[in-house]
């Protein structure tokens, strides 16, 4: 095991908005041992996974991959990208591998070994395991996976741990493009492979996964550098105007996590409840006293998304104070006109009224649902056929215009239509799977392939 290993993290979501070049180059000048970035998230909603699309423009993905690839090849160090192209599906891995080959060709890079790791899971594979009696346990209060819920799922990915990435590096990979991966694991993998303790390696990954979000003041897309030793992790902001402080690093431990003390990854849990944070220099914080416990049974997280239907949206405004006071009556009227023709909402269609200016952002959680002097209503209809969604949305919007209120003065129309038009949104999807699947072998749902790229 070397004394220390440094990893440069340039972005918390490769491609989502472009990496800032300045702090990245400052990071490369520190001669890190690897450059690593995550490129996906379930934060973007279920549509990209379900429809197997990316949500980031390819131009920005290419920009970020090019910066990383050129920096890594210049130093002759590994580059690892996880959750390729927002979703981490096989499509994303293939797309990123194509971009890497293209960049290598255009820059006439010396030959290197590229590994691709696919972790998309066929629905039939999960169905087979369910039928065989395997318990696919629900996360975050969800019920266990049933064949019915699985049948509503269009696409699934397994969130890989360190094992497939270590395998790829063992086989000589210098660039790794991985499918859906646990953010911290893509950083932990090279450190564990080099012999660092799992606790330190996973903590390194945890602190680096969102790049400059672990520093202050708040900045996105700036690089940070993490260094692991046998018992400590230090993290330094690369942007000259940013610092990694005890407060910023500790705050980041709880970002996007229900619990700041435990980080679950494939195969175990990182325990941060006794972590000690110290300011090492102005821009560097040192963390010690983390622990890692392996799970008795190796389990991997599955994410799955299923299509609900085609989605239509339209927009109406209300300014009449009397109508605003009776806005729920107006909506009930419009709903009743839809129900006359289409029956009650349910399997056939869904209809939502978002009342911006009252509780459009928070819905039933809004403690002060007091309407403003004008309201914006966004009408959202979902049905299996686009034509149905469009008609339901139009009916549900135009009847805001024809609402019958006993004392309304404005008898020429009770709503302002921004345009008498229904907009076609991307189809509605739902996260159907947020579960864990036990595995006999950490590599069993992944395919690792190696190829020679360049000249």
């Amino acid at each position: 095991m070397p004394d220390r290993m440094s990893i440069l993290s340039p972005t918390g979501h490769l491609g989502f908005t472009p990496i800032e070049r300045g702090s990245f180059e400052l990071g490369v000048a520190r001669r890190p041992d690897a450059i690593v970035a995550d490129s996906g998230s379930c934060d973007i909603g279920p549509q990209p996974l379900g429809a197997d699309e990316h949500c980031s423009p390819e131009e920005w993905q290419r920009h970020d991959l090019e910066l990383m690839l050129l920096g890594a090849r210049r130093l002759g160090i590994p580059m690892i990208v996880g959750s390729a192209s927002d979703t981490g599906t096989d499509r994303g891995v293939k797309q990123y591998a194509g971009i890497i080959r293209d960049i290598a060709r255009r820059h006439a890079l010396a030959p290197f070994r590229l590994a691709t790791i696919c972790s998309e899971v066929p629905r039939d594979e999960v169905a087979r395991r369910l039928a065989g009696g395997v318990r696919v346990e629900g996360l975050d209060g969800r019920a266990d996976l049933t064949p019915e819920v699985l049948a509503r799922t269009d696409r699934l990915v397994a969130v890989m741990g360190v094992a497939p990435i270590i395998r790829a590096l063992d086989e000589g990979a210098e660039v790794v493009v991985a499918g859906r991966s646990s953010d911290s694991c893509i950083f932990a993998a090279p450190a564990i492979r080099a012999g660092f303790p799992e606790a330190a390696a996973y903590y390194l990954g945890k602190v680096l996964e969102c790049a400059s979000f672990a520093g202050e003041p708040f900045m996105g897309k700036e690089s940070i550098l993490g260094t692991v030793t046998a018992d400590a992790v230090t993290v330094t902001a690369m942007h000259p105007g940013q610092r990694c402080t005890v407060a910023s690093v500790a705050s980041h431990a709880m970002y996007e996590r229900a619990n700041p003390f435990f980080e679950h990854v494939a195969g175990g849990v990182l325990d941060m409840s006794h972590c000690r944070y110290e300011q090492q220099d102005e821009r560097t914080t040192r963390v010690t006293e983390f622990a890692f416990r392996r799970d008795p049974v190796y389990r991997i997280k599955l994410e799955g998304s299923g299509k609900v239907g085609e989605r239509a949206v339209s927009i109406a405004g209300i300014r009449d104070p009397y109508t605003i006071r009776h806005i729920d009556t107006v909506i009930a009227w419009a709903r009743s006109k839809v129900e006359e023709r289409w029956g009650a909402p349910g399997a056939r269609y869904q209809l939502y009224y978002h009342v911006y200016g009252r509780d459009g952002v928070m819905g039933p959680w809004e403690p002060t649902p007091v309407p403003a002097h004008e309201l914006c209503l966004v009408v959202e209809a979902v049905a299996s056929q686009w034509e149905d969604a469009e008609v339901i949305c139009a009916l549900g919007t135009r009847n805001l215009f024809y609402a019958r209120l006993p004392e309304v003065k404005g008898t020429a129309g009770t709503a302002a239509l921004m345009m008498d038009e229904v907009l076609r949104g991307k189809p509605g999807y739902e996260w159907t799977v947020n579960h864990v699947l036990p595995l006999a072998d950490p590599l069993e749902l992944c395919t690792v392939r190696l190829e020679e790229v360049g000249r």
Binding site: G45, A253, M254, Y352, V361, W431
Partner: protein, 108 residues
Amino acid sequence: MTTRPLVELAKTIRSKNAGVDQITFDVIFRDRESYELVRKSGALTPETVARLYGIPRERLTAFVEFDPALAIKFTIRRERPSGSPGERDVFGAQQYAPLFDLPIPVGP
């Protein structure tokens, strides 16, 4: 009793998805004094949060005090997974505002 709104005592008040089924809330303080004041005030508890958001207590899946970050953190289970039809806040990023006005007793 003298009170001050939480927004005056906290450095950061934020909300964000924690996975696809939950939204987590962070209230972070600049100094230990404000953190301890709010922590011991009894004004920010699972019960007051449940009341503020009009949800049953069981919907809160975590409520922790996180000393290293001078933070109080809680997590609410969503009604539906993030991004489902009818979604209001895909990232869960604007659910914290009602915490601003939470009155914190600061003196007699």
